[in-house]
């Protein structure tokens, strides 16, 4: 745990009453092939009164699932959801959701959309209209009553989403990536307004729970930041953030907090571990052996792009600088680096990313040479042997069969996405191709001479 500030005001939060909490919550989904994919594993998380809690995680880490459990949109597979100490049944009446996609009804005007938030209460017309008017006023939509969602900008649409969530006076407002489909300036503006809304002491709104993949956004807004690590989703780090509002993203304290989060994610995602033992192709793969390593869902082109950037700008080694340089979210950058790392094209001592010798020779090779290296490296990945073993015995294999095997080997991954990535990598390496009509993976016969012998 990290306590970076001594501000007493927020230190009390831990003692203030809990609005809603998850206790030992696990959630699984049924995926292709009928097997179970565990998305959340034994999550304990409480939202206290008076806090602005951010749940930070990459896409697919299960953070939206946590939000759905807290609001009652989803039921945990096991574990309990408590709201003010009582087990939650059905939809959480104290929480409102603001959606990433706004989820406005296109056929209703702004006013009518906001009124949807009050429908369940069956208020008399006059009262309802007054409440709607108040929410519209509060969120700065005063001249937009009769407009339809398709007539207004994205930022205005999300304002409608927020007004609709606030109109029923919830104790806790849940933001599901609420700013991520807005342009930078609009998002920044709305973030400030959200903090102001939460600060207003006269309102019934006690807390905000936000789910985001944007590190700066979490540091800018939240009093507490929980980082969720994927496959399966589990809470890795909880940070108290006591910086005073309004927060200056250029200030050293802000930057140091961002750096702490970066480092935590890096060390946990790219640990400096010894490489997996090389597999002799042809030897039977026993599933009883230790867990196979997953592969990040990254297209080959992005791996190649990363390698070129590393070659062209030798000074660029720090992973955050790389992330800024290529203009991707940190979570995405980490995925690309990780992909290059498991292919042994880069190494990642601490927070640095460097080309390996193999990476150097890969870059200087011609197309056939590159393909050959890539193919060799793929043969070193245990997960690929699921397909390779099939293709040694027969010319083609059904995708569903592979999906089943992937699901049992990697119970926390989405088998479809893993297969897509494997096919993309395998195509580049010239060792396999996919027939979308028949849904089969097959050997590339013509290019057999490029495939390396074991």
């Amino acid at each position: 745990m990290l306590h970076t500030s001594s501000s007493l005001k927020y230190a009390d939060v831990e003692k203030s009453p809990v609005i809603v909490e998850l206790r030992n919550v696990t959630k699984s989904f049924t995926v292709a092939g009928g097997s179970e994919m565990k998305v959340l594993d034994q999550i304990d998380l409480a939202v206290h009164e008076g806090e602005l809690l951010a749940l930070l995680g990459q896409s697919g880490s299960g953070k939206s699932t946590i939000l759905r459990c807290l609001t009652g949109l989803a039921q945990p597979t096991s574990g309990r959801v408590l709201c003010y100490g009582q087990p939650l049944e059905g939809i959480n009446p104290h929480a409102s959701v603001v959606f990433q996609t706004f989820a406005l009804y296109p056929w209703l005007t702004v006013e009518q959309n906001v009124a949807v938030g009050l429908m369940a209460k069956n208020l008399p017309r006059v009262e309802r209209d007054a409440a709607v008017e108040k929410a519209i006023e509060l969120i700065g939509l005063s001249n937009y009553h009769a407009a339809y969602p398709r007539e207004i900008s994205g930022g205005m649409r999300q304002r409608v989403g927020i007004a609709r969530a606030l109109v029923s006076e919830p104790a806790i407002l849940c933001l599901d990536e609420a700013f991520s489909s807005l342009d930078v300036l609009t998002a920044e503006n709305l973030r400030h307004e959200m903090i102001t809304l939460w600060h207003r002491k006269d309102a019934t709104l006690k807390s905000v729970f936000m789910v985001t993949h944007n590190i700066e956004e979490a540091v800018e807004m939240a009093t507490r930041i929980c980082i969720l690590f994927p496959r399966p989703g589990r809470l890795g780090l909880v940070l108290e953030n006591h910086l005073p509002y309004p927060r200056d993203s250029k200030s050293p304290e802000f930057q140091s907090l961002v750096r702490t989060i970066h480092e935590t994610i890096t060390t946990l995602t790219l640990p400096d571990h010894p490489p997996e033992p090389v597999i002799v192709s042809g030897a039977p793969i026993s599933r009883a052996r230790n867990r196979m390593e997953s592969i990040p869902y990254v297209p080959v082109g992005q791996i190649l792009g990363l390698l070129s950037i590393l070659r062209d700008t030798p000074d660029l080694t720090n992973i955050y600088d790389i992330s800024n340089e290529i203009g991707k979210e940190f979570g995405e950058t980490i995925g690309i680096v990780k992909a290059a790392e498991i292919l042994e094209l880069v190494e990642t001592p601490k927070n640095d990313v460097r080309l390996t010798e193999l990476g150097q020779s890969f870059l200087s090779a011609d197309r056939i040479g590159r393909r050959s290296i890539f193919s060799d490296q793929i043969h070193n990945l245990r997960i690929f042997h699921i397909i390779i073993e099939y293709l040694r015995l027969q010319d083609e294999v059904e995708a569903d069969q592979i999906l089943k095997d992937i699901a049992s080997a990697l119970p926390y991954d989405n088998p479809e996405k893993i297969l897509q990535t494997m096919v993309a990598w395998g195509r580049y390496a010239g060792i396999m191709d996919f027939n979308a009509n028949a849904r089969t993976v097959f050997v590339l016969k013509d290019d057999a001479e490029h495939a390396p012998s074991a």
Binding site: V97, T101, Y105, N122, R150
Partner: protein, 583 residues
């Protein structure tokens, strides 16, 4: 900003009470009076022995047109109720879905006209001595012609409502009724309206046919435009027949212009996309209506509060409803399942009993040789349906593509093709058959033309739609690479219109089976021309009232339809979906 919603925020652009409002009030009164006037004609005494003759005068055409129109709307109202009930049940309950979807699939393959004799007898027994029984049979025929398509469309749009919109409804604790009103009906409005318009258009065929029927050896003529036409042709009164066709066209165009186009224009706001549509569908009548004070007052003061009241009455509970029933609600769940099971078993029992009876009747009444003959006739009719599809494709694909590439022409031609598809050409069959007689065209070939007369239009307007949907950048790309002639057709046009062609051809072929019942056996004056085919046989045995044979024929035709659907159209659909989607 927005000026589109008369019933909401009406204060902003409500004009003053004007001439138009007086016209609308008079129109509403007139409409109410007509409905009562025409409906009272439905309940008169009816005696099989002394069927009243139709009035031959041309001046009685408007009355008959009104009767036909009322029949159409009653059937449509029934279809709509059925659609909401059954489509909703199929979307919401897994158990109901397991029964409903296969049932709809089979039922929409059954040729409606084939069991007209059974339904007429049944409904006449239900309302003895009243014309209402025969009216019901006619309404039922129209209903079965249009309902399956609508139900399936509604079900499909319910299950494809975007997840985030459903989540929003769930988090804000909307009750079932509120959800239905604010989310589910609006979200499916667009598809519901288009399907309704198409189904309604298809209904004219059935209304014209079911008004003048000879079943069980009896000639029954319901007062209506279809029976007026039939009587005129029997008498050889060309002037009366001509005016009947004009009246029919007028009624179809009026339904289109005064009801469907305004509804489509109004429903433009229910589209899912959050982008402004570049070319919103327009309707002059809608433009007239939406400035009306009377209508906005009605919707604001009557419809809206009524909807809200229903919302309050529907489920009055304090908390929002749980997403997943658990705990004590397990009992409720169990009860639901129990009720469904009992209902299902009850229906299944009766269906089985009926089936056993039918099989026994067929075995007693139809020899093996006859069954073989029926199957052979089925093959002949199938070949005719294929021939029609092929010929219509060869003829209308180039025409449709040409029209689609010229937007100005398309804007005129597409509605015309839709009206042509709605027009019940079976009314004009006797005249065409007269020409066959005069020119000595054998009915075995002529019937292909008769079938095509009604169904080819589906192909045409789908091909036009397909050609219009080809993105301009693809056309430009083809032009820069100098693609022309056959190369252009093969690489761009044919693949791009393929999904639309499949839809059109499938609809046309489906309609063709029904049309064969009236197209393979037709009478002109004293001459009856008959083709070898299952349709002709069904028409024949229906007139005779030979129940076992009717059952056998209908089952055979349904079988052919189901098999061709499974073997041909399903596959073409999935091919179109996989390979030729334009997105």
């Amino acid at each position: 900003m927005n000026t589109e919603l008369p019933q909401l925020k009406a204060a902003e652009h409500r004009g003053s009470f004007g001439l138009m409002d007086i016209a609308i009030i008079l129109g509403l009164i007139g409409l109410g009076w007509s409905v009562i006037h025409f409906a009272s004609g439905m309940l008169v005494h009816f005696d099989e022995q002394a069927v009243p003759l139709l009035d031959e005068s041309v001046w009685s055409i408007p009355y008959y047109a009104g009767r036909t129109l009322l029949r159409m709307w009653m059937a449509f109202a029934c279809s709509l109720l059925f659609t909401f009930g059954v489509g909703y049940a199929a979307a919401k309950s897994r158990i109901a879905r397991a029964f409903i979807l296969p049932a709809i699939d089979v039922l929409q393959s059954v040729p409606v006209l084939g069991f007209l004799s059974a339904t007429v007898a049944g409904f006449m027994a239900l309302f003895p001595g009243s014309l209402f029984g025969v009216e019901c049979a006619s309404i039922f025929a129209i209903f079965t012609g249009q309902v399956w398509n609508m139900t399936f469309g509604f079900y499909h749009s319910l299950v494809t409502i975007p997840a985030d919109l459903q989540d929003a409804a769930a988090t804000f604790g909307l009750t079932r009724w509120q959800r239905f009103r604010t989310l589910e009906v609006p979200a499916s409005m667009h598809s519901l309206l288009w399907n309704s318009m198409m189904s309604f258009g298809g209904g004219w065929f059935f209304v014209a046919q079911s008004e003048a029927i000879s079943v069980m050896g009896k000639n029954i003529k319901l007062p209506g435009i279809g029976s007026y036409m039939a009587a005129a042709v029997e008498r050889g009164d060309n002037a009366a027949a001509f005016w009947a066709v004009i009246a029919m066209l007028t009624v179809i165009v009026a339904s289109d212009q005064l009801v469907w186009r305004p509804l489509i224009a109004w429903a433009d706001r229910f589209k899912m996309e959050l982008t402004e549509s570049t070319q919103a569908p327009g309707s002059w009548f809608y433009d007239v209506l939406r400035v009306s004070v009377v209508l906005s007052w009605l919707s604001e003061r009557v419809l809206e509060p009524a909807g809200e009241l229903l919302g309050k009455l529907s489920v009055h509970r304090n908390g929002p409803q749980p997403v997943v029933a658990k705990g004590h609600t397990a009992v409720k769940q169990f009860l639901y399942v129990g009720v469904f099971l009992v209902l299902g078993l009850f229906l299944a029992f009766y269906a089985m009993r009926g089936l056993v009876g039918a099989v026994q009747a067929v075995r007693a009444g139809v020899s093996l040789q006859m069954a073989g003959h029926i199957a052979w006739l089925g093959v002949l009719t199938m070949l005719r349906v294929f021939a029609m599809t092929l010929l219509a494709t060869l003829l209308w694909t180039p025409v449709g593509v040409w029209i689609g590439f010229h937007p100005k022409v398309a804007r005129v031609a597409q509605p015309l093709a839709q009206i042509a598809a709605s027009f019940p050409v079976n009314m004009t069959f006797p005249i065409v058959v007269g020409l066959f007689v005069a020119w000595r065209i054998p009915m075995n070939w002529g019937s292909i033309l008769l079938i095509a007369m009604g169904t080819q239009w589906y192909l045409l307007f789908n091909v036009i739609a397909g050609a219009m949907a080809i993105p301009n950048d693809l056309k430009d790309a083809a032009r820069t690479y100098g693609l022309r002639g056959w190369a252009l057709w093969r690489t761009l046009i044919l693949p791009a219109i393929f999904p639309f062609w499949v839809t059109g051809a499938c609809t046309a072929a489906g309609g063709a089976w029904n049309a064969s019942i009236v197209a393979e056996l037709a009478t002109w004056g004293g001459t009856t021309l008959k083709a070898d085919g299952l349709g002709a046989l069904i028409a024949e045995v229906t007139q005779r009232g030979d129940t076992p044979l009717i059952l056998c024929c209908i089952a055979t035709m349904s079988f052919f339809v189901i098999v061709t659907n499974q073997l041909i159209w399903r596959r073409l659909y999935s091919l179109a979906e996989r390979r030729f989607r334009l997105d």
